[in-house]
Amino acid sequence: MAINDLYTDGLAKGWKIRDASTLTRDETLEADVVIVGSGAGGGTAAEILSAAGLSVLMLEEGALYTSRDFKALDEFSSYSKLYQEAAGRATSDGAIPILQGRAVGGTTLVNWTTSIRTPAQTLEYWTRDFGLKSSASDDMAPWFAKMEERLGVAPWAAEPNANNAVLRDGCEKLGLHWKTIPRNVRGCWNLGYCGVGCPVNAKQSMLVTTIPAALDRGMTLVHHARADRLQFAGGRVNGLTVHALDADTRHPTGITLNVRARHYVLAGGAINTPALLLRSKAPDPHQRIGQRTCVHPVNASLAVFERQIDGFHGAPQSIYSDHFLWPEDGGIGYKLEVPPLQPMLASSVLARYGDALAQDMAQLPNTNVLIALMRDGFHEQSAGGRVRIDDAGQPVFDYDVHEPLWNALRHAFVQMAEIQFAAGAKSVRPAHIDAEPCANMDEARAAIAALPMRKHRTGLVTAHLMGGCAMGEDRQRCVIDSRGRHHETENLSIFDGSMFPSSIGANPQLTIYGFVSRNATALAEALAPAAKAAA
């Protein structure tokens, strides 16, 4: 069955897509708006700005891969091509591996499709502590609704796979909250390979939705193009230097693109955007750029069942529980979800080797994994990490884990085990170097209480990057205002995960879509009349 390749069709009808690796001389490119990055923020902004009649230039450091490239459903080739640092990105001490996309479509190309609105409590916190304006649940609801409609977001209507059913059934038995996850898919084949690129264009990533719409409106997309430095002068940005990357997207070719635009939008994600600003010596009177970068630190619990789980097949995330997200004592809470379990991804988090790893892997079809996503950035002792740059201007991300966060992680180990046993697990093991399989809850409780909660011994991971350019009217604490405009620079906006003052307490994509859709609409209104007058 042939799947239409949107980009083959699009190029035939005149889409302007350029591969910077093939350029042989320096060029100057001009546009009303340049957007750096093509993920959730960049894609959403591109559609809105180009629909307003503005000329838009989109830059992406990664390559362009389309549905035809994903037919093999092969983990290694996808993780090594579609993710930042070939999926080897991590915090500076290596303690928290980071899964973040790097291709046209950004992380939306490889995420697991979970589309949950920003919790009301989170919006209240941002409003109260950071001076975020006009962003309560009621204010945001129409923007979420608009993007849900645009991207086909709806609760997963099919039966969850057995891996997700463990979370549902365990919560049900224990009387805990659980819910079906809304997913941004249309005509999903329920394969389970969202993380390696959707081969059937069912996932409504930016690659197949907003970017094609913007290309239809005349947007120019240049991939293999890395933003190096913005030039600041007189309270404005007056240029952007871009380096062309070679075919592998690893090394500059020596070709430079000089970009001039009326307005500059940064959407490179919560590591690359702060790094670009720091490299460019952006005005930062209160030293806020790169601060408070949050990750929803994730720990995991592995359970073995008698029955077949086959967590490698079927929609990867379809059930979640927020039972522990907002604890009554006001402490750090967490969201519970499930990851897909193809062998490479599964083996990478086990932190075992040799026969012990082989034995774990032999049980893969009977294994369920639960993950807990810590809501960081809401408490004084959990203020996120910091993105800085090294001497060469490359991003380095420091993230410390303090006692309250360790306590929440330990709490989550216990609750995840409880849910897994309630769902019928025959053994449970926390993802921790010192943990062994436990046969029942008493054993698990004792074992978890004794685990040394330290970096590297406790398995941690993240796929959510939030913060570093906080949004709000409090100029002491925030880099951008409530409309995403840079506080110190009039023609600069930040439309990506770096805008959040803390973590979200939900998978970030819908929060990015909602805020960017609102803020890009405001930007289009501000810029478009002039664009029309000039036309």
Binding site: E85, Y193, G354
Partner: protein
């Protein structure tokens, strides 16, 4: 590079164990020792046919794949050899793709692992990697994993992760994980 040729100022076991747990500065310090010892490969070009691994890294990388695969390595020597070779190729792809700051850290670790005193005292492996076995690699991983130093635990996680990724991503390993691969009906439909 002689593993025993280290200056008198090089860290002995006691000095090494005094280093703070989990401190990035410790790697920097040890990296400096390696540079003093003339073992740094920071500027060494990649081995022929590779993007990032140097000729000296290759025996270590191959043993890492073998040590992490353990009993899952296919019994047929030719099949096992192909899996190891492909594993090393995949390690090279992964490390070449890291950002420059992470590459610097991995380079320090790989250089340290070539340096006799570190390999012996921290890893418990006396032989150079060209003469060592998969069991030696497993001994090193066990020592790093059990260490009270966060720094070595971190090195353990990094090594275990990369060994796991490059072996368990290969189709030759799928049957051992009882992984059938992507649903056959979908693959057939997609490629029809």
């Amino acid at each position: 590079m002689s593993p025993d040729w280290a200056p008198a100022t090089a860290l002995d076991r006691r000095g090494f164990l005094k280093l703070g747990a989990g401190s990035a500065a410790a790697f920097t310090l040890l990296g400096a020792s390696v540079q003093l010892a003339g073992c740094s490969q920071q500027a060494t070009p990649a081995a022929a046919g590779f993007r990032w691994l140097t000729a000296a890294d290759l025996p270590f990388a191959r043993l890492l794949v073998a040590g992490v695969a353990g009993s899952a390595l296919p019994a047929d020597p030719a099949v096992a050899d192909a899996a190891l070779e492909e594993g090393v190729r995949r390690i090279d792809i992964c490390l070449d793709a890291l950002g420059a700051p992470a590459q610097k850290e991995v380079r320090k670790l790989f250089d340290l692992l070539q340096w006799g005193p570190f390999r012996r005292f921290a890893g418990g492996v006396a032989k150079p990697w060209s003469e060592a076995t998969a069991a030696d690699m497993q001994a090193l991983l066990a020592n790093f994993s059990a260490s009270r130093l966060g720094l070595l635990n971190g090195a353990f996680r990094a090594l275990a992760k990369i060994g796991s990724i490059v072996f368990w991503s290969q189709p030759v390993a799928y049957p051992l994980a009882r992984y059938p691969g992507p649903p056959a009906w979908a693959v057939a439909a997609l490629n029809a």
